[in-house]
């Protein structure tokens, strides 16, 4: 770790002022930032400990006047997943959070931090290798090397990294809104716009400015009434405690034997949780049957491109795997099966 200055602001105003300084970075759970600092991938001059803001209310999970839910950025992932308001109205979010990391890490990690975690690309993490995300212009070794955990959708010549979060895939399906603050004011960022595609600037992961702090994440009101089903399917090389090769979050509303609404978000396949409204629209007005699920899956994966070198580097396996996973997740939702990750009772 590179030596740094540590500040512990006692108010949101103090925190925002501290973050407005150059090379200052917020730390909450620290489960990704401190790891990156140990690898010298991240070398902030100042660490701004925002955990105090949690005690001042940024860790609250509370119902909103419109019936939606506000998740404090400083709330721990485990507390969020197990919160009665989340379990009852947004079981998809619970399932996704509990599918990720380990119990100890979930006790430390915060909601804001989960959004801001960085890719686990091996080359990004290894300061001895080129990486356009870590050092723009040096190249992307993953494209011709080991790319098992890398993207098949939305990638660029510059970068094929994936966003590793499970929680974010659920937040994308739920169309969450990210609320941020800085000394310059407050604004909201739709989940779909929060994470970026790599394009020519893979060093920029999100729409968050360097001086901005996530304060809370809001969810629209949970769909009322019967007929709504959710599922989170996570495929990984171990039964637990591993990142997704492919994950799928589904929200499905079936009424009178017909699909009225559908959301499908993919994890582990792109620089951000992946949604395609056209694929979702394919399901509307039809019976929730496998043939329609397969059509949606085909459309979602139509532009998928494998990357990586010769086996075992190539991630070509992800494309048929993702196609099957989308169909499986839709079937799970239709059958009322919440998750394959075993943590929660079905």
């Amino acid at each position: 770790m590179t030596p740094f200055k540590y500040v512990a602001p006692r108010s949101e105003e103090e925190a925002l002022q501290a973050l407005a300084e150059p090379f200052a970075v917020a730390v909450a759970g620290g489960t990704n930032l401190l790891d990156l600092m140990k690898e010298n991938v991240a070398r902030p001059a100042t660490l701004v400990d925002v955990n105090t803001l949690g005690h001042l209310g940024l860790d609250r999970i509370e119902r909103l006047p419109d019936g939606g839910l506000s998740l404090g950025a400083l709330a721990r992932n485990s507390d969020t997943a197990h919160h009665p308001l989340v379990r009852q109205a947004y079981p998809l979010l619970s399932a996704a959070i509990l599918a990720g990391a380990s119990p100890q890490l979930r006790n430390m990690a915060t909601n804001g931090g989960n959004l801001l975690q960085r890719t686990r690309c091996y080359y990004f993490y290894d300061t001895e290798t080129p990486c356009n995300k870590r050092q723009p212009g040096t190249g992307c070794p993953a494209r011709t090397g080991l790319a098992r955990i890398h993207a098949v959708l939305g990638a660029s010549q510059a970068c094929v990294a994936t966003h590793p979060s499970d929680m974010c895939v659920a937040l994308a399906a739920l169309e969450a809104v990210v609320h941020v603050a800085s000394v310059r004011g407050r604004r909201q960022i739709a989940m779909a716009e929060f994470h970026r595609l790599p394009g020519d600037t893979p060093q920029i992961d999100t729409a968050l400015a360097a001086d901005e702090l996530i304060t809370h994440i809001t969810l629209p009101p949970a769909p009322p009434g019967p007929g709504w089903h959710a599922s989170y399917l996570k495929l990984r090389e171990r039964a637990s405690y591993a990142f997704a090769m492919v994950s799928v979050a589904v929200l499905l509303q079936v009424e009178g034997g017909t699909v009225r609404a559908a959301r499908i978000a993919l994890g582990g396949v792109a620089h951000k949780p992946w949604r395609d409204p056209a694929a979702e629209a394919l399901l509307l007005g039809h019976a929730p049957a496998t043939e329609h699920f397969e059509a949606a899956a085909d459309l979602l994966m139509r532009d998928a491109v494998a990357t990586g070198g010769p086996a075992p580097g190539s991630n070509a396996f992800k494309i048929p795997m993702a196609r099957r996973a989308i169909v499986r997740a839709l079937e799970m939702a239709q059958q009322g099966v919440l998750t394959n990750t075993g943590e929660l009772a079905q």
């Binding site: 770790m1 590179t2 030596p3 740094f4 200055k5 540590y6 512990a8 150059p22 090379f23 970075v25 730390v27 620290g30 489960t31 401190l34 790891d35 600092m37 140990k38 010298n40 991240a42 070398r43 902030p44 001059a45 660490l47 400990d49 955990n51 485990s78 197990h82 990391a101 380990s102 119990p103 100890q104 890490l105 006790n107 430390m108 060093q203 920029i204 400015a209 360097a210 039964a239 637990s240 405690y241 990750t341 075993g342 943590e343 929660l344 009772a345 079905q346």
Partner: protein, 226 residues
């Protein structure tokens, strides 16, 4: 806008940096560690794990990977299990830390006597009544009874993690108790492969705690009330 990186001054900290309390960059913190109140100065970059091991000489918690991936450094902070290698000591000022060295002091109401361990028994016999070593935590006793460790390296983390798991109280939500324990302990890796025995040890203690009051039949397969 990208979060800028500080120009690199030095890749490596001097080896003693984590235990340099007189350094001008050290900050004062207060901790309670295994019941003992401490007021110390630490560098901001000192992890809780390094503080426990290098400064406080509580070497029970292990540095298995130093990257939050193995769970060997699991300790309890304010009763909650966390990964000590990814925590800065300065960020935990004001907290109560329990390491494996402090487990025997917990749960004394249902702690078991150390009679099963010859050395502990002889130590206990040698001590005066006022200096008797505390009885083992039920989980420690169960780990011994079920042969739940071989090299012992992951064991302190397994024990602290299991205590945390039981405190969290979500085992009743799992599909079945064994699946819940396996998933709940999945953050602790064991290279010796003692997982089946660890599962049995944790299950025994969970069921013992969930046992109905005397006079009612106990079903060994009952789901945990945790």
């Amino acid at each position: 806008m990208e979060r800028a990186l500080h120009p690199l001054e030095s890749d490596r900290l001097p080896p003693s940096a984590s235990i340099a309390p007189d350094s001008p960059t050290a900050l004062p913190i207060d901790l309670v560690v295994n019941g003992k109140v401490l007021a110390i100065r630490v560098e901001p970059w000192t992890t809780l794990l390094d503080l426990l091991r290098d400064r406080l000489l509580l070497t029970g918690s292990k540095k298995g990977c130093d990257h939050g991936q193995c769970g060997a450094c699991t300790v309890l902070v304010d009763g909650r299990r966390i990964i000590a290698c990814l925590t800065l000591a300065v960020m935990r000022s004001g907290c109560e830390i329990t390491t494996v060295e402090g487990l025997a002091g917990l749960a004394e109401g249902d702690a078991m006597p150390p009679a099963a361990i010859p050395d502990a028994a002889s130590d206990a016999a040698a001590d005066s009544a006022t200096n008797a070593a505390p009885a083992l935590h039920p989980l420690q006793q169960a780990f011994i009874e079920h042969d739940a460790f071989q090299c012992g390296y992951c064991t302190p983390g397994q024990l602290c993690s299991a205590v945390g798991l039981m405190t969290e109280g979500h085992l009743g939500e799992a599909q079945d108790l064994d699946a819940g324990i396996r998933e709940g302990m999945s953050g602790n890796v064991c290279r010796c492969g003692a997982y089946p025995q660890i599962l049995r040890a944790v299950r025994q203690v969970v069921l013992h705690r969930a046992r109905p009051p005397a006079g009612h039949a106990a079903d060994g397969n009952e789901r945990a009330a945790a």
